[in-house]
Subunit: 270 residues, 2 copies
Amino acid sequence: MTDRPTLLSNARSERVRQVAALGRRAARERTGRFLVEGPQAVRELLRYAAMHAQALYLTEAAGERHPELVSEAASAEVPLWWCTEAVLAAMADTGTPQGVVAVAQKVDVPLTQALDAVGDSGFVVVLTHVRDPGNAGTVLRGADAFGAAAVLVSDASVDVYNPKVVRATVGSLFHLPVSVGAPVPELLGACRERGIRLLAADGSGETALPDVDLTGPHAWVMGNEAWGLEPDVLALCDAAVSIPIQRAESLNLAMAATVCLHASGSVRTN
Amino acid sequence: MTDRPTLLSNARSERVRQVAALGRRAARERTGRFLVEGPQAVRELLRYAAMHAQALYLTEAAGERHPELVSEAASAEVPLWWCTEAVLAAMADTGTPQGVVAVAQKVDVPLTQALDAVGDSGFVVVLTHVRDPGNAGTVLRGADAFGAAAVLVSDASVDVYNPKVVRATVGSLFHLPVSVGAPVPELLGACRERGIRLLAADGSGETALPDVDLTGPHAWVMGNEAWGLEPDVLALCDAAVSIPIQRAESLNLAMAATVCLHASGSVRTN
C-alpha cells in the first residue's frame, strides 16, 4: 500500500489557483510549466517525458480506473496529490479531464537539437501561423504517427502548451522533438543550411504530391488555416506542392497535413 | 437593379423562429428542411443543388461582400430576404454565419441511387455510429475531394443536417450523393449485393493499407470515434485494414478516413 498524502479539498487554495493559472499563456511563460489533462496524455507524459513531470493530481475514482498512473508516478518519483472532484475541476482547463491532471515543465528543445534528429533521410513539419489548437494538435499527432523526426512551430503560431493543443496531441507532444518560438525565416533558413528541402503545402502549388521525391530530408511547411502560406514564405520554399483532388474546393489544414505526412512516412516504411 | 423586398427586422417573428428551429433535429425531421450557413456552403448549395434551396437570408453587408450569391439566387429563382444583423443572428445555429443563411430541403437520396453511382470502379464511405459533427463533416469533405461516388450514413450516426456538419462539409454535402438512415447491416448488405468490397478501417486490422487492392469497387467502413467498429460490423466486412504508423497510439477518425480516401482516389487518378 502506498501512503496517501492528505486529500486536497480546498478548490480555492493557492496551489489549486497556481495550477489553474497554467490554462493562461502568461502564467505558462512566467513559470515554464503547462497543464497535461486526461489519462491518455498523462500516461504518455509519464512514459516518455517523466523527468518533465512536476506533479500529478488525481481523484480517487480516477486512481482506481488508472492504477498504472499511480505506479508510474511512483517509479518516476513524481509527487502525486489526491484531489476532490471539485479541486480537479478547478484545476483543469478543458471540461473533461476524467479526474487526471498533471503539471509539467515545458518539453520543447532548441531548434538545432530538433534538426539534429532529421539526419540523412528524415522529415519535419514546420507550422507557420497555424492558429487553431485542434489543427496544431492533429498535425503533431500526424507527425508522430507517420514518423516525422521533429516539429518546428513558428513564433506566430498557437502556443503548443495551450491545454487544447496538448489534449489534441494525445501525448504526441512527448514523443518527438518539438521546437517553438523561432520566426519563420529563421526556421526555414536553418532547414536550408542543413540541406533539408522545403516543401510548401499549398492548395494551388504547381507540383503534384505524387511527383515529389520524398526520399531525402525535407520539411513540410504548413500555413495558416484561412489564408494559407504568405507569398514571402512561399518564395523561401523549394517547391509548392498540391494534393490532387477531384471536387472539393480545398482540403482543410489537418487533412492536407495528414496526406503529406502519410506520403513521407510511406516512402520510409515501404 | 433588383427590387429589394422589405427588410426583415423583427428577430422574434414567426418566420425567424421557424428558421431558427431548424437548428434542432425534431424540426428538421418534421419539415424535411435544414439550415445552410455561411457564404461558402450557401454558394455550393446554389451551384450544385439550387432546386433544393427554399430561401436565402442575407444582411446587406453580406450582400455587398457576396454579390454572386444575390445573382445566383435570382437566376435559380430562390426567394431572397434581406435581414438585419439581429434577425440573421437569431436564425443561425452557429456563431458566425457571416451574414448568410439559407434554408434548403434535404438533399439525401435513396440508398439504391447512391449505390448506382459506384459503377464498376467507384468507392464509397460508410459512416457507422460516427457521432462528432466535425468528424462527419471532414469525412464528407474528404469523400468529395478524393472522388468517392457516394457517402452512406447509418441510422446510428450524427444527423448530416446538423448545422455543424453542414458547415464542416463546406458544401461537399451538395457535391455527391449522400444516403442516410439505413441500419448498418442493411447498408453493408446492399453493398455486398452489388459486389462492392467492404473494407473496415480498423486501427488493429490485419491487412496493411498498402497491401489492399483498391482498383475495384469498394466501401470504406468507418466506426465510432471512441470505440471503433463493433465486432459484429467487423465480421460483416471483407477485410480489416490498418494504416501503418510509427509511433502515435492511433490516428483519429478524420485522419484515418483522409488517408484511406486519398489512397482510393490516388489509384484512380495516377
